[in-house]
Amino acid sequence: MERSWYWRVALVVAVTLFSLWQLVPSWFYFKLPPEERTTEAYERAVPGWAPHSAKHLNLGLDLQGGIHLSMGVDVERAVKAKVARRADEIAEFLKSKGVPFESATTTAGGTRVAVKTDAPDQVKSTLLDAGYGDEMYSPGTADGAVTFAFKDTVLRDFQGKAVEQAEKTIRNRVDKWGVSEPDIKRKANNQIQIQLPGFKDPEKAKELLGRTAQLEFKIADDENPALDPLRQQLTPCAGPDGFQVPLPQGGCWTSETIELPNGSARSVTMLTANTRPELEKLIQEKAAPLLDPQKNVIGIGEDSVPSAAGRTPYYRTYLLRAKTELTGDYIADARAAIDQSQQFGQQGRPLVQFTMSAEGGRLMQKLTSENLRRRMATMLDDKVETAPYIQGEISTNGQITLGSGRNPQEMFEEANEIALVLKAGALPAPVTISEERTVGATLGPELVKRGTVAALVGLGLVLLFMLFYYRGSGLVADVALALNGLLVLAIMAMIGTTLTLPGIAGFVLTLGMAVDANVLINERIREELRAGKTIKVALQQGYDKVFWTIVDSHVTTLVAALVLMNYGSGPVRGFAVTLTIGLIASMFTSIVVTRAIMEYTTRHETARLSV
């Protein structure tokens, strides 16, 4: 006991110096204007002897500005799509096995497959024995149809995977986007939380993150004359002056001469219109009834013609085979580039080049070799981006030339965006925004200023009160309190927590609570002194007797703080973290630090204690 203050004082000094050292990067960080903080200017400013420059205090989204998004993954839709795919598979499988059946369609709101058949038992046994039984079971037969449903475990697993993949995709997209310090987390209920500090354009964020980015390759069905009768029904696009924009209201027909694989050429009918909705309406009313949806679909693409205003875009159709031959799932890499080819009208256009994975390359090779000299449409999110002839076998490398008609800068940006989403992969299911919090850039600094002033006022009052009420011992408590504040900030900088607005409130509150421990100690010492004990004994007994009281009271608040940390997100979590660190620091400063100082100042027999 006699000499122990020696070590304790050394410890206190060490902790103080350590805290100050930890705060060096933060000091330089906040000295810079906000826009320079993420630049190299900051890295350069931090001296070499300081901790790593990444270890600085961070401002939360609410203080810095930025976007917080929660996106719900629509797993039900993903399940429905899976069921629909399964219905197609089943139909194909039954056909290949020669099992008699009429149709295989989805039922029960798209959650089950119903196979209409006269031989229900045969269908059932064929399917369930053929490996489909691993994932599916048959709940029964009704109205001449056998129904099949996925097992619950399979569905749960599938849904979990869908969310996981959505998270990965979103993370990929954000990473490639270059936002500094994004935070992406999976939450309960198929939610994904995304935090983009310092990001200012919520619309762009939502657009980029919500895009499904489904890339599909389909083969053009140019031999099919199904649309030719429309030439008699619709207005031709070409007037006396040829093909000119704006096109006639409501859309029109035109043709293009396409070389067929057998060497002949055919004039293929296509529909065009000034806007996509116009064209969609035309397709719906006139073209769709002529087609067998099992065999053909109509793809819509964008093209442009020279006009007075540079180039004017219009929309056109492609008659395609319904089957999706290949999807973007196999894309390994994608990048934006400028078309260097000498082909007329293509030169200088932005394009997206992509590289397939080995497996994708194999499939692509098969597809292209089977369809040599046909046209292949590359569709992104339901829009035909490009439909070139397959000149030779393609394996791993491909490209998408973007439509024209807009300013090149804008288009190059779009090429970049497409490259990014292709590289990051498609979302397995649509996402909806369930939570969005945007904080503008001007609000943050003002809140920081207000919060700092509020914290300083609170701190000042507490310091004055202790000094006034406990005199000498109050001063000791004040020193401990200052060290407590320093320590909290240092730990926060060290473990990289973010300071939020409620976090500032939490910081102030912990200072108020930290002083409670000193009040308890000082009151106890007064009591012991009143009982006639010597200073040394009073100090010792005072500290010993309140030790567990202080621990107990800290632990109960700590319990609440930890529960809150588990519950809250964003700013509220910041509060809980600050409170937790504050409580731990407060236990140290009130028990160890003040005791060391008190024992140091009263080490001589003649010492006085003002409490």
Binding site: R437, V462, T556, A560
Partner: protein, 402 residues
């Protein structure tokens, strides 16, 4: 040795806390019941913020004074019902908090109206609406319509549309459409910037919380408070004696409810930060109780044989100064927030203050005296168990009245 100090509570103060416990308990019961009743939605209800109610909230700052009524009218012209516009912070900052449609959920009626309108114009194959998502209807069509026309059809039914999104259809080669309503924030922002162009509105913060998330946060919030209470009670039970636990539980509930009362009676927004306050109060208000229980334990060893009521009263009186001072010191730290804090920050400090005061009161009048009451109950039970063998041994208590 020079002993010069003053005590805010003079040494040797004897206030009869234990004797007043019946009045205090009745008073507290009335206050608590009143708060809980007030929180019942049918009677008054808490003013849930977007965190819990769902909806859109935006903070807009103008460069010039603007009439909040004009803002509200503008929003209602856009077709959003139940908008609230309130001044945020100081008058001269011209800042307003705009909140739209507490319950952002589309009602079944709304859904039916939209579906009917769409069905009347397009061949709908199937549609689905998930009330958990609440603002999105999926349509599958036999022949896909143009998105713009679909949007026009939905808006014709009187429902604002944020986006009509064409999606990959369920079956290969088909397309389906998601009609997403809401999008209030963007719409209002656009409208304000044209309507009040000369006052240069600046949207400083937008918060949109979907109804499902809101409900989830609300449920989790209640759970978090209950978990924290349970854990604290277990800790106190282990550290002291489980016969102290009921007093702690009751005091905790009391303080949590009174803190809630701040939000209930002032009508201030109850949001995530409010949950943080309630939880912190739950953790903090035990501190005083712990101090007294510690002293009770110490005094029980010191004055063996004295009735518990005496010991409890003595313990409260002995620790009166520190109970007051600790609460006072913590309250002092909040003054800055009360003066400089706006909105949530101010509410944080004010509710915390209410909780701290309640915590101090409940320590003196509820938690400590409760232990006597439970001790009495236990003693009576024991006496009854011992049947009418002898006259029941006088239980602890009664001696509080000097």
């Amino acid at each position: 040795m020079r002993f010069k100090s003053f005590d805010i509570v003079p040494h040797g103060t004897k206030i009869d806390f234990v004797g007043k416990r019946r009045i205090a308990v009745v008073l507290s019961l009335i206050v608590n019941a009143a708060i809980l009743l007030w929180c019942v939605p049918a009677i008054h209800g808490l003013n849930f913020g977007v965190d819990f109610a769902g909806g859109t909230e935006m903070e807009v700052k103008f460069a010039k004074p603007v009439d909040p009524g004009a803002i509200r009218n503008g929003i209602e012209d856009l077709g959003f019902k139940g908008a609230s516009v309130q001044t945020y912070g100081a008058e001269e900052e011209h800042t307003f908090l705009i909140r739209v449609e507490r319950i952002a959920l589309m009602s079944d009626e709304d859904v039916k109206r939209v579906v009917d309108a769409v069905q009347a114009r397009f061949p709908v194959e199937s549609w689905s609406f998930n009330p958990e998502i609440g603002d999105k209807i999926d349509f599958q069509f036999k022949q896909p319509p143009a998105p713009q026309e679909l949007q026009a059809a939905v808006e014709g039914a009187g429902i604002g549309v944020r986006e009509v999104r064409a999606e990959q259809g369920l079956a290969a080669g088909t397309r389906s459409f998601a009609v997403i309503t809401q999008g209030i924030g963007e719409k209002i922002e656009r409208d304000l910037s044209t309507r009040f162009a000369e006052a240069k509105p600046e949207v400083r913060r937008v918060e949109y919380v979907g109804p499902a998330v809101g409900r989830e946060l609300r449920n989790q919030g209640v759970k978090a408070v209950l978990y924290a209470m349970a854990l604290i009670v277990v800790y106190i039970g282990l550290r002291f004696d489980f016969r102290f636990s009921p007093g702690v539980i009751i005091a905790l509930l009391h303080d949590a409810i009174v803190t809630l009362g701040y939000f209930a009676f002032t009508g201030r927004e109850f949001n995530l930060t409010s949950i943080a306050v309630v939880l912190t109060i739950v953790g903090y208000s035990v501190n005083d109780t712990v101090v007294i229980y510690d002293r009770v334990r110490e005094n029980q060893a010191k004055y063996k044989g004295r009735p518990l009521a005496d010991i409890v009263n003595l313990s409260i009186n002995e620790t009166l100064g520190r109970t007051f001072l600790t609460s006072f010191a913590t309250a002092l730290s909040l003054v800055g927030l009360l003066v400089y804090g706006v909105g949530t920050l101010f509410d944080f400090a004010a509710a915390m203050l209410v909780g701290i005061i309640s915590g101090t009161y409940s320590t003196w009048y509820i938690a400590a005296p409760m232990t006597i009451w439970f001790e009495d109950l236990a003693a009576k039970k024991k006496a009854r168990a011992a049947t009418a063998a002898a006259a029941p041994s006088a239980p602890a208590g009664r001696a509080a009245q000097k």
